[in-house]
C-alpha cells in the first residue's frame, strides 16, 4: 500500500504540493488527474524518493520513503517500476540493453535469465524484433512501450506511470491503455497513473483522484467523477474552463 500524508513541496515561489494526502490500495489502478503544472509528476517522483518533499510523508509498504537509508531506498525502488513521460531511455544503449539495466542490479540472476526476462518483457509490450534498435530509431509510441518493458522487467509490485499517453495518436493511446490494463491483470501490480487524458483515465482506472491547488480535490470511482457537482472537477473533466473560472470567482 502507498500512503501519502500531508505532502508539501515548494519550487521557488510556487507551492506545488500543499497538503496532498492519498492512499493507494493494493492491486488497484489509481489515476491522478489535473491540469499541466499541477504537481502530478512531482508527486509521482516523491513516491520513489526522486524528489524530497519539504514536509509530509510518503509510506510504501509500511516504510517511510524519506527516512530510508540509501541502500534500503534502492531496495524499495527495485519493487517499483517507473514509466517516464518521455520514456527516459538510455540513448547510448539498445532497447535490449535498456530493458536489462534494472535486472543487472539483481545479483542472483544469471545472464541467461536476464536475457530471457528481457525477451519476455518485450513480448508483453509487443516490441519483439526491436531489441537491437536504439531509442532514436523508434517512434514515440514504441519508446513509451520500451520504457514500460524496462519498468516491468524486474516484476515490480508497483508501477508508476507518468503521462503514459501524452503526445500519442488515439490508436497508440488505446494500445498503451490496453497495456496498462494488461499489466494490472496479468502481473497483478498496483498502479498509479498520472494523466490529464480523461478518456484514458476512465478506461484504465479503478479510482481517479483530482489534484488541484496542490491537494486532492476529489477521489472516487470513474462513476463518482462523472456524477460530481464540484465545478472545479466538472470543469476539468468536461473541458469547460468557464466552470473553473466561476468556482475561483
Amino acid at each position: 500500500m502507498i500512503e501519502i500524508r500531508n505532502l508539501r513541496k515548494v519550487f521557488g515561489s510556487k507551492q506545488v504540493l500543499n497538503g496532498f494526502s492519498l492512499t493507494v490500495q493494493e492491486g488497484e489502478t489509481l489515476s491522478i488527474i489535473g491540469p499541466s503544472g499541477a504537481g502530478k509528476s512531482v508527486f509521482l517522483k516523491t513516491v520513489i524518493g526522486l524528489i524530497e518533499p519539504d514536509a509530509g510523508e510518503v509510506w510504501v509498504d509500511g516504510r517511510n520513503v524519506n527516512a530510508l537509508p540509501r541502500d534500503d531506498l534502492y531496495e524499495l525502488r527495485r519493487r517499483v517500476g517507473y514509466v517516464f513521460q518521455f520514456a527516459a531511455l538510455f540513448d547510448s544503449m539498445t532497447i535490449r540493453e535498456n530493458v536489462a539495466m534494472g535486472l543487472r542490479r539483481i545479483k542472483t540472476m544469471s545472464e541467461a535469465e536476464i536475457q530471457s526476462r528481457v525477451s519476455a518483457s518485450l513480448y508483453l509490450v509487443d516490441l519483439e524484433g526491436a531489441e537491437s534498435r536504439y531509442p532514436s530509431e523508434l517512434s514515440g509510441g514504441m519508446r513509451k512501450r520500451a520504457g514500460l518493458a524496462r519498468a516491468i522487467a524486474t516484476q515490480p509490485k508497483y508501477l508508476l506511470y507518468d503521462e503514459p499517453t501524452s503526445g500519442l495518436d488515439p490508436v497508440t493511446t488505446t494500445t498503451i491503455d490496453e497495456l496498462v490494463i494488461r499489466m494490472s491483470e496479468e502481473l497483478n501490480v498496483t498502479a498509479v497513473v498520472v494523466t490529464h487524458d480523461m478518456v484514458s483515465a476512465y478506461r484504465i482506472s479503478d479510482r481517479i483522484a483530482m489534484l488541484h491547488d496542490g491537494a486532492i480535490r476529489l477521489v472516487g470511482t470513474p462513476d463518482d467523477l462523472r456524477a460530481t457537482d464540484d465545478p472545479i472537477v466538472k470543469g476539468f473533466v468536461e473541458g469547460r474552463p468557464e466552470l473553473t473560472r466561476v468556482a475561483h470567482a
Binding site: L50, V80, G81, F90, D91, M101, R150
Partner: protein, 273 residues
Amino acid sequence: MARFQYGAEDVGFRPRDLLTPVQAVGRGALSGVASVGKGGFLAVRAVQTVRLVDIWAPRFVPMLMSIGVASIPIALFILTFTGVVMAIQASYTLTGTVPLYFVGALVGKTVILELGPVLTGLALAGRVGASIASELGTMRVTEQIDALESLAYDPVAYLVVPRVLAGMIMFPVITVFSMAIGIIAGWLTALAMLDMTTPEFVKGLKLFFDNYDIQFALIKAWSFGLVVTGVGCFYGFHTVGGAEGVGHATTRAVVVGSMIILVLDAFWAATLL
C-alpha cells in the same frame, strides 16, 4: 535615466533601481556559495560510492578509453608543435650568450615542469570536460539520471566515479606521452634547423634534469585529471533547462576547469618547488 517598458507607460527612475547592482552582486555571491556547497556534496557522495564497485567497474574501462586513449592524439598534436617552437625560441634567445646545448636544457625543463602538464590539462579541459558536461547534462534534462535512480543505480557511482577515476589515471599517462613527444619534437627541430647534434641536445637535457621534475609533473597531471572530470561531472549533473542549459553547462565546465588548472598550477609551483 528613463526606463521603458514594453506596453507600459514610462515610469522614470525609481530609487529602488539603485539596488539592482547590489542585488546582482548578492545573487552572484549566493550562487557561488551554493555551487561550492553542491560541489562539496557531490565530492563526498563520490567518495562514499567508490565502495559500489559492482556499479562503476563495468563502466571503468570504457571511460579509460574515451577519456584517455581517445585524447592522446590532440595532446600529442599540441605538444609536438610546442616542442618545435620551444627549440627555436631557445636557440633564438640563447645564441651568442651560452652554449647551444642549453637548448636541450630549456626544452626539457619547460616541457616537463610546465608546458607538458598544463597544455595537456587545458586541451583536455576542452575535450574531456566539455564531453562529460554535455553528456551528463543531456542525461539530466532527458530524465535519464532519474531513470538510473529508479532502476536502483546510484547515479554518482554509475556516472561520476568511473569518469573521475579514469581522469586521475589517464591524465598522467597522457601527460607522459605529451612530454615525451614535446622533447622529441624539440630534439628533431634542433637537429634539423639549429645545427645541433644529438649528443649536444642530450647533454643539455641531462644538465638540469631531476627525477623529481617527473614526479612534480605527474602530481600536477593527476590533480588536473581530478579537476577536469570533476568539474565536468558537476556541471553536467546540475544542468537545468533544455538544450540551452546543456550549452551553459558545457561552457562553464570548460571555463571553470581551465581556470582551476591555472590556479592549481601556481599552487603546486608554490608548494612543491
